[in-house]
């Protein structure tokens, strides 16, 4: 099936890719598994690396699955196969895996797997898996195949070892860069609040230790209306911080000319959709536009938590409900618009899920009802004082318990 020459050629390409991996480029491993799947015409392939955080663990460095639709989840089977190798330290060649008690999920009897332990001296540093349809090949072909997998595997061992050495050295630098990212992200949060007659404003972000994806922006539009945008990028780390910055730019651009909220949000989605959908990332986004002259608040919502409106007259809190898909969820989505007229003393609280999902040591969440209650019992203060008070109430609730999510809130109060 695969002559010596092509085998050598393949190995050469794998090796040349592995050299790149030493520059801490783990994307290379994805290229390798894709290459193998295409060249060997197999169902799927993966590379796993051993992690040592709190005992031996495993992390998938790369995974590729050929186009065919499967009635089961190959990534799940792949996880189990790798876990077996990590656990036992030996290679695994399984035909008809549906007979194996470890692989209940496989409903097909034609799938076979070769899971090869990547060992540097005696230390197991990774696992290399190849998934294939066994009916496609003769017994002899399979034997050849296993020997090829071994050859590729031993190259991968070296590559993985170098990669690991390099990434450990890089770890410190990455921590430092994450710190920078966190600072940059913090700097992207509004510092100077716009001044507008008749209202008070307050904002606050409490960043979690990791780089989070909370986004908040407050600005005046061309005709001196107030724009408030709040959102949350799903995920953490540098990608979340990057997407937060992208969202901010897209939102500012879309909102510049007093664009109606639903049009602005639809536009943000159109701009960001291609990249977001390719990377499988979603962003929640709520954009509200406040007109101080007739005290109306228009808003559109792409999957973000509804703001809470405190009505001074009734002393009741109601969520400003409006449904809409996440940014990056539906292509060319046309979002809806809704609005309320505010009165003196009314308060709108915009927030991210970190607030209501804040945990105390008993693992109890603060909850939206409690937030609504606190809004009522601090309603006589101005917006920045309300924020200060909510933060103390939050702190009183959580105590010393460490929060893993960013907490962002913005308050708009109609003062006159």
């Amino acid at each position: 099936m695969f002559n010596e020459f092509r085998q050598t050629q393949l190995l050469y390409r794998v090796c040349s890719l592995l050299i790149k991996a030493q520059q801490d480029n783990d994307e290379v491993f994805n290229q390798i598994v894709a290459l193998l799947c295409q060249e060997l015409r197999v169902t799927g392939s993966s590379i796993w690396i051993a992690t040592h955080q709190g005992g031996i663990g495993q992390q998938r460095l790369a995974f590729f699955q050929a186009g065919e639709k499967l009635s089961y989840s190959l990534p799940n089977l792949d996880y189990q196969a790798a876990a077996l190798v990590f656990e036992q330290g030996n290679g695994l060649v399984l035909h008809n895996i549906h007979n194996d008690e470890n692989f209940h999920e496989a409903k097909r009897n034609d799938l076979w797997v070769t899971a090869y332990p990547l060992k540097n001296k005696s230390e197991l540093i990774g696992v290399f898996c190849i998934w294939d349809n066994c009916n496609k090949r003769t017994h002899q072909e399979r034997e050849n195949f296993v020997s090829l997998v071994q050859k590729v595997g031993s190259e991968l061992t070296n590559g993985l070892y170098n990669y690991k050495q390099y990434s450990q050295a890089n770890h410190k630098r990455i921590v430092k860069e994450l710190e920078t990212a966190r600072r940059i992200q913090f700097d992207l949060m509004p510092k100077e609040l716009p001044v507008l007659q008749g209202i008070s404003l307050g904002v606050r972000t409490i960043p979690a230790n990791e780089v989070g994806g909370d986004y908040l922006d407050i600005f005046l539009t061309n005709s001196k209306h107030l724009g408030i945008a709040i959102g949350d990028v799903m995920g953490k780390g540098i990608p979340a911080a990057l997407w937060m910055a992208m969202t901010k730019v897209a939102m500012r651009t879309a909102a510049k000319d007093d664009t109606q909220p639903h049009i602005a949000v639809s536009q943000v989605n159109s701009v960001l959709f291609p990249d977001l959908s390719r990377q499988g990332i979603f962003v929640t986004l709520l954009y509200a536009l406040y007109d101080p002259y007739n005290k109306t608040l228009l808003f559109s919502n792409a999957g973000h938590l509804p703001p809470l409106l405190f009505r001074s007259k009734t002393q009741k809190v109601e969520p400003l409900q409006l449904k809409g898909a996440y940014i990056g969820g539906v292509e060319n989505k046309i979002y809806q618009i809704s609005g309320v007229r505010l009165q003196k003393g009314d308060i709108v609280l915009f927030y991210t899920d970190g607030l209501i999902e804040a945990l105390n040591s008993a693992q109890k969440q603060l909850g939206v009802e409690k937030v609504a209650e606190l809004l009522n019992s601090n309603a006589l203060y101005d917006a920045s004082q309300i924020i200060d008070r909510l933060i103390v109430d939050l702190g009183q609730f959580t105590g010393d318990y460490h929060q893993t999510d960013d907490i962002t809130l913005a308050v708009l109060k109609v003062e006159e």
């Binding site: 606050r204 002393q315 019992s377 006589l380 109430d393 959580t398 105590g399």
Partner: protein
């Protein structure tokens, strides 16, 4: 100096502010070094927290709205008046009450923008006299905030000071009862409003408006109170003020079976009840006269540092001036440094450290 809860007191700590008993006697004087006996005594008295001298924090000036002398004098007069009534006398020396009330008003009027920023530290059995004086002080400050003149303040103050005078006729064993009152006892208890009114209205020279405070201080704004289920403006303004002061003072001091609230928590409950039990306009004035974080409160800042509140202002209740004395790693900062949170918007308080 800072406030430390009694559970966290240790032997060798030094009392920062004198603690008085219900007669105005000294329970523990400032400067006394705590022994385990003293600590146990404080627990028995149901005192929740005390001011302690703390070298790490240094000196902090604690400026009560009313001088200690005037407060003690008021305590003495209240006790004398109320216990005389108890002995079946139906009258008291009105001049004595007027004098002490005037002293308080004059001291309060001398300051502008008064903010109550001292934690009232009282023993659990001091729920009548000490409470009465505090309610009078809080009511006067609210009255000042509402623009009352001296004459009006005097009437309000007399009514506030003696709002519970009807309790003098109430059996003492029921006053000290830990369990909830049964229906009959509750009826009897509610009678202290009418009893108080009866006493006060029969005293010549005691204003009728002030006497109504005793009658109406358990009425609720929404008409669900007692004894008459009066509603809204149907309740006298004096009584509406005293009701708020009364509730606040009860919440912030220990009562048998219920731990005290911190001022900011009590204010939240008061605000949540505006327009329900309490007059919303009075609440709006009242919230401005109370410091959310009394001087001496230990707070955690967003930087992870610990600080003690050293100065409060009426205009920026959530942003006091603080002295930072423990860094984010838990190490003492020597010497501590001060930040005014009004001018340092990057800093904010994330919680109050009750445990001291």
């Amino acid at each position: 100096m800072r406030i430390i809860s009694v559970e966290n007191l240790e032997e060798g700590m030094e009392i920062g502010r004198t603690i008085h008993g219900e007669n105005g006697t000294t329970l523990l004087a400032a400067g006394v070094e705590l022994t385990s006996r003293f600590i146990n005594r404080l627990k028995e008295l149901g005192i929740a927290s005390v001011y302690i001298r703390d070298d790490a924090v240094g000196e902090i000036e604690i400026d009560d709205v009313v001088s200690e002398r005037t407060r003690l004098e008021a305590l003495k007069v209240t006790k004398e008046v109320m216990s005389n009534i108890n002995l079946n006398s139906s009258s008291f020396d009105i001049q004595m009450v007027n004098d002490v009330v005037d002293n308080i008003i004059n001291e309060l009027l001398a300051n502008r923008d008064i903010v109550v920023n001292v934690l009232d530290i009282r023993a659990i059995n001091d729920f009548t006299y000490g409470h009465s004086v505090s309610v009078a002080i809080l009511s006067i400050i609210t009255g000042i905030a509402m623009g009352y003149d001296h004459t009006k303040l005097s009437k309000l103050a007399a009514g506030a000071l003696l709002h519970d005078i009807g309790k003098s006729k109430f059996p003492e064993h029921l006053l000290n009862k830990v369990d909830p009152l049964n229906e009959e006892e509750e009826q009897l208890f509610q009678g202290h409003t009418i009893a108080g009114f009866e006493i006060l209205k029969n005293i010549r020279e005691f204003s009728l408006a002030a006497a109504h405070v005793a009658l109406q201080h358990h009425e609720r704004y929404d008409g669900t109170g007692y004894p008459r289920q009066l509603k809204g403006e149907g309740i006298s303004e004096f009584a509406r003020i005293v009701t708020v002061a009364d509730i606040y003072d009860k919440m912030t001091t220990s009562i048998v079976g219920r731990p005290r609230c911190m001022p900011f928590q009590a204010l939240e409950i008061i605000m949540a009840n505006r327009g329900i039990f309490l007059d919303p306009e009075v609440v709006e004035h009242f919230m401005n006269i109370i410091a959310l974080f009394p001087v001496g409160t230990t707070v955690l800042l967003n930087t992870g540092e610990k600080a003690v509140v050293i100065q409060t202002s009426r205009k920026h209740p959530t942003r006091p001036e603080v002295r930072v004395f423990i860094d984010r790693d838990g190490k003492l900062i020597t010497p501590p440094y001060e930040i005014n949170l009004v001018y340092s918007s990057n800093y904010f308080i994330t919680r109050v450290i009750e445990e001291g």
